[in-house]
């Protein structure tokens, strides 16, 4: 009987459960789609050399899955609260009929099992298509040997997904069961959803709004100055201020809207506006949070492209290797970014340098001349046939160097320029190095020359963390390996070197992972946020059935009612988005400052590329589906 009851309950309440099932199905589909990448032929067929990439990529995907699961659990608990509100009278009825707590729990579990099975089957089917799309995208991106695309189904991924979602479902079921069990009969009988809170006065609302805007601006200010360093106090202040500012701003706006509405002359629009504003007012905290989620999604989406662009190594010179030389007396190894590799001893570097010197001509360029050199590069003024140009006005290197001007003229392009300043290291962050590195510029750190080491101690104390030397191997991996072995021979120990492939892999891991994880988080957060908005709108429909009947009594026909529902639903879905877009503009300005301060581009100019446009289009489609779904459920509940 419980089984029949559970089945019939779901069947009868299907419109109310539809959004929940749809969201759960999409979540499972995404989860399966991404988890199945680990078992896909694309990853499993990668050669051993590329395992570094695949391992790192899969680890990131898994970590993201655990991260997004927090939001899935939140959604499910939120939904179960909603269903409790809708069904409390029904639970009361069961209890008066003599249903024990155990039987009630059994009923809830059975219903959840039906939903789970239904969502899992559908979700896996959709997930298979998503996985195919992701595999294709992955192949297109990594473009390395062994990455062959083929259509496949992964039982392992299915099992992982099933276990994962059953755990989440079990948590939700337990939560629901506890909630129902804890409520007394009288509470269930007269249960009422939270009533609309008191609206503040106009003055308080204006103060809240101003406070919100000021907090937001403070957040942007600190964000602008934090350089996105999560360990800095500016970053912490910025995060809190953006969070609080968004909610306060939203509260202020909504309060003012409600106050303004209440002072309007009463006409047929009064009731329809009250429905929208009351709902916005009632759920202001949730909508404020959704605005923040949307802000995260949009800024991640557009910021990602900027980040990828920043780290873009599409034009990386094959064969480049980075060596970081540090003074162990002054610096700990932890301070050295592991993207490069560390070596002790100037001899090793010097040997390597000499090794390279025999191969190519060098010139030395002061870092202080960097901007000028960049301009020369951009204007393609370097058209020499020299292999490498080292340019240094005060070059202390002895050797067969031409004058700087001649050397520049000899340089034949980006990949043939080397920069060093024996007296002044201005490469102060890893980003600088990567930028130089990806521009094909050979950087020679000054302290490789022992004679300058003492002079540079003062620079260390000023925060110059890194000294770099980059070798240009012209894509000759054998040559690179020889160099590394030569260095290690000199040092009589293994050189902690990155091969060209490892460097490319690490960059690729970053680039591909950023794109995939952005997609994953964006889709997941969007569907969860939309599901919450949808559930709130459905609750609105249930709460306001009578109000809509009143509108009909007032003379509005079905078409008018539908128009009101459409307007209210779209407004309800768009409101947090507008706030999020405003926030995003501020965040992009901060990203802009952080990323593009040296390369004279703007984040806004780099916001869109094919992938991002594709993701945005899909997100817009999902957004539209949710709005249409909610509208149709709303019509059904209201009876139009």
């Amino acid at each position: 009987m419980i089984l029949k009851l559970a089945y019939n309950n779901l069947k009868k309440s299907f419109p109310i459960y539809l959004v929940y099932i749809f969201t759960l199905t999409l979540s499972i589909a995404l989860f399966y789609g991404f988890i199945a990448l680990e078992y896909s032929d694309v990853i499993t067929n990668l050669s051993n050399e590329n395992k570094t990439f695949s391992d790192a990529f899969i680890t990131l995907v898994k970590a993201t899955s655990y991260f997004v699961s927090i939001f899935v659990i939140f959604l499910m608990v939120y939904s179960s609260n909603f269903f409790f509100n809708v069904r409390s009278r029904e639970y009361f009825m069961y209890k008066t009929l003599g249903m024990s707590k155990r039987e009630l729990r059994k009923l809830i579990f059975t219903e959840n099992i039906f939903i789970g099975v239904c969502s899992l089957v559908l979700g896996t089917l959709i997930g298979m298509f998503i996985n195919q799309g992701l595999c294709k995208l992955l192949v297109a991106y990594i473009n390395i040997d062994g990455a062959k695309f083929s259509i496949d189904f992964s039982l392992e991924a299915l099992i992982t997904t099933a276990i994962y979602f059953w755990i989440i479902l079990a948590i939700t079921s337990v939560f629901s069961a506890i909630k129902v069990s804890k409520k007394s009969l009288i509470e269930l009988k007269y249960f009422q959803a939270q009533v609309v809170r008191k609206v503040h006065t106009k003055i308080i609302s204006i103060i809240v709004l101003v406070l919100g805007i000021v907090t937001l601006l403070t957040g942007f200010y600190f964000s602008y100055n934090s350089n996105f360093d999560p360990t800095s106090y500016e970053f912490l202040i910025a995060s809190c201020a953006l969070l609080g500012g968004t909610i306060l701003t939203y509260w202020g706006i909504i309060n003012l809207l409600v106050i303004r509405f209440s002072k309007q002359s009463h006409n047929e629009k009064t009731l329809q506006n009250s429905l929208l504003y009351n709902r916005l007012q009632k759920n202001k905290l949730a909508i404020g949070m959704i605005s923040i989620a949307f802000t995260l999604i949009i800024s991640t989406l557009f910021g990602t492209n900027a980040m990828i662009d920043y780290f873009n190594t599409a034009n990386i010179i094959p064969g480049d290797a980075a060596i970081v030389q540090y003074d162990p007396d002054i610096y700990n190894l932890e301070n050295i970014n592991l993207e490069a590799y560390g070596l002790d001893g100037h001899e090793a570097l010097y040997t390597a340098y000499t090794y390279r010197y025999e191969e190519y001509e060098f010139s030395v360029v002061r870092k202080s001349e960097f901007d000028n050199v960049m301009k020369v590069i951009e204007n393609k003024e370097i058209e020499s046939s020299a292999d490498v140009v080292l340019y240094d006005n005060n070059s202390s290197l002895s050797g067969d160097f031409d004058s700087p001007k001649t050397q520049l003229n000899k340089a034949s392009g980006l990949d043939k320029l080397a920069i060093s300043s024996p007296t002044n290291v201005e490469v102060s962050s890893n980003q600088d190095v990567i930028q130089l590195f990806t521009s094909g510029i050979l950087v020679v750190a000054d302290s490789i020359f022992p004679s300058f080491q003492n002079d540079n101690k003062s620079l260390y104390s000023e925060g110059f963390d890194y000294q770099f030397m980059m070798f240009n191997y012209r894509g000759d991996q054998e040559l690179e390996e020889n160099a590394l072995s030569l260095i290690s021979d000199v040092e009589k120990r293994e050189a902690l070197g990155n091969t060209r492939m490892q460097i490319i892999n690490s960059v690729m891991v970053f680039q591909v992972s950023m794109l995939f994880i952005t997609m994953y988080i964006s889709f997941m957060l969007v569907i969860i946020a939309l599901a919450i908005l949808a559930i709130q709108q459905i609750m609105d429909a249930i709460d306001n059935q009578r109000e809509y009947n009143k509108l009909r009594v007032l003379g509005l026909n079905v078409r008018d009612i539908k128009r009101i529902i459409n307007r209210n639903t779209i407004s309800y879905f768009v409101f947090p988005l507008v706030l999020a877009i405003t926030n995003t503009i501020g965040i992009l300005i901060c990203i802009d400052k952080y990323i593009y301060q040296t390369i004279e581009k703007t984040a806004f100019s780099q916001m869109l590329n094919t992938e991002i446009i594709f993701i945005v289009v899909i997100l817009v489609i999902i957004y539209t589906i949710y709005i249409e779904l909610v509208k149709s459920i709303y019509y059904k509940i209201v009876g139009v």
């Binding site: 009851l5 069961y94 209890k95 009969l185």
Partner: protein
């Protein structure tokens, strides 16, 4: 006759410390097996609160309620659930049918939950008594108000409860249907010996009971018992007199 329900000096408060409302004030009541009692009074008088406290739906703030000789005060929830499952039947104004099940399944569910085997013969028998034999396979939205309330009554009675609590059972029905349903209540009360405690604000409905308890401002205002040779109409007139008095005093 044995006492099935005993209410001793119960009080019920609602609200927080700054805004306390006394809904029941020292109410005592005895209900014997086979009684048919109506609780009447103006709205806000505490009728439903009293019914809730007597029927295990709510707890009294003070005082004692004994059901079938067992005090509900400090009784474990599990035990209360068991009493509710076996000894109590409920009928509500809004019918409270499970819309996802048809009439038959609604009744059968109550039997299952009471730990009994589904007994089709018994279901049909009760359905015949309540004149819903032809409507058992219909769902809630296919039944009229009267039919719904009869299904609800059948569902409440199928497990042979010792006492049936009805909260405004005719509140959503028209006069004719109300009368038919209350005739059924009398029939059940007489034939099956089921004790009925009914809350109503309707004079006509109350006149079907054998005893009427009047509540006013949370206190028992009066009790009247139908006399042996008194007609229903005469009884109704007496009820009316008391009710008018209550309303005038308010």
């Amino acid at each position: 006759m044995n006492t099935i329900l005993e209410v001793k000096n119960i009080e019920k408060y609602f609200g927080t410390s700054s805004n306390v409302v006394k809904a029941l004030d020292d109410v005592s009541l005895l209900v014997n097996e086979g009684d048919f009692i109506a609780i009447m009074g103006p709205s806000g008088g505490g009728k439903s609160t009293l019914l809730n406290c007597m029927s295990t739906i709510d707890n009294a703030s003070s005082g004692e309620v004994k059901l079938a000789g067992q005090s509900l005060v400090n009784m474990k929830q599990k035990h209360i659930d068991k009493i509710r499952k076996q000894d109590i039947g409920f009928i509500f104004q809004d019918f409270s049918l499970i819309s996802t099940l048809n009439g038959y399944d609604n009744i059968a569910l109550a039997q299952t939950l009471a730990g009994q085997q589904v007994d089709s013969a018994k279901i049909n028998e009760i359905a015949q008594v309540l004149s819903i034999g032809d409507d058992l396979l219909k769902y809630e939205d296919e039944l009229s108000g009267g039919q719904k309330q009869r299904v609800a009554a059948a569902r409440a009675l199928i497990k042979n409860p010792k006492i049936l609590f009805a909260d405004e059972p005719t509140g959503s029905l028209d006069t004719k249907t109300s009368r038919d349903l209350l005739d059924n209540f009398c029939q059940i009360n007489e034939q099956l010996g089921t004790t009925i405690v009914m809350v109503t604000h309707d004079l006509q409905s109350a006149s079907f009971a054998r005893e009427v308890v009047f509540l006013k401002d949370g206190k028992i205002y009066n009790k009247i018992i139908r006399l042996e040779h008194e007609t229903q109409e005469q009884f109704r007139m007496r009820i009316n007199d008391v009710y008018v008095l209550i309303c005038e005093e308010r």
